[in-house]
Amino acid sequence: MSEQVFWDDINEGDSLPIISPDCSTQQLVVWAGASGDFYQIHYDIPFAQNTGLDNIIVHGALKQAFLGRLLHDWAAPDGRIEEFGCSYRGMDYPAEDMSVSGTVTAKYVDGDRHLVDVEVWTENPNGRKTTPGTARVALPTR
């Protein structure tokens, strides 16, 4: 986490600080317990291969939660995620280096809320955005 970002200082096109989350198999097991998603394609290699996958895959909802972490770390302590979501466009495999990042696409005021829209995504080692998404974040003003 870093110092508070203020709405006044943000510009369209600004990048969010990249995070590189841990997608080890151990981390996927922690996620399975935390989320209650015990589908075997996320931890049982033969099971995953029987469904046509090459390997076990990273949970989609975990990738979404990584996007939430990116946004939270950027906006905290006083900013607030109002909305965030994503599409699962590609598989990610454990132990690959995933990076999670975002770009500010719009900055506006709605009533007394000072808002930014952000494009967010997870990216695999080949540079493919496997989990593109969008978010709306309320930020404090100076």
Partner: protein, 158 residues
């Protein structure tokens, strides 16, 4: 495209709320979720820090809408593939989810939720024909009935 698989039976499901389920937002649940995601902000782990930052208790990390209250009778349903629609496609993928928040969610909250289908879409994808089912879920805080979040998600059968 071949004949539509969006039958009248499927169409009749649009807008019909499914059973209500209940999820508990506990301190342990928040911590485990935060740990699984690699969060470092202590508002997700430490009650004193969360209170000093203006929250009533440990905060639910983004994407955490509580732990569904488990009963042994749910085991069979929980191990079945999600979806449960009468359609000819056997495989299923989670297409994505968006959450919109209307209030903070903190440890101690109990959230009740129910979902309904908002739309079916048929598409010809790289893997062949697919059916996309859009659902909206409303999450209410049980103590005061306030809607604290809504989720919009889609599942892909192919």
């Amino acid at each position: 495209m071949a004949e539509s698989i969006i039958t009248d039976e499927l169409k009749s499901l649009i807008g019909v709320n499914g059973p209500e389920s209940e999820a508990e937002v506990t301190t342990t649940g928040c911590r485990l979720f935060a740990r699984a995601v690699g969060h470092t902000d202590l508002i997700f782990y430490d009650e004193e820090v969360a209170k000093a930052r203006g929250y009533k208790s440990i905060v639910a990390p983004p994407g955490f809408l509580g732990t569904t209250v488990y009963k042994p009778a749910d085991a069979e349903r929980a191990s079945a593939p999600p979806g449960g629609l009468n359609i000819p496609y056997k495989r299923i993928l989670n297409g994505g989810t968006t959450y919109e928040y209307y209030d903070s969610i903190v440890a101690g909250d109990v959230l009740t939720s129910s979902s309904h289908i908002t739309e079916f879409q048929e598409r010809e994808g790289s893997v062949g024909p697919m059916l996309i089912t859009w659902r909206e879920t409303t999450f209410r805080r049980k103590s005061d009935g306030k809607v604290v979040a809504k989720g919009s998600s889609n599942m892909i059968n192919y």
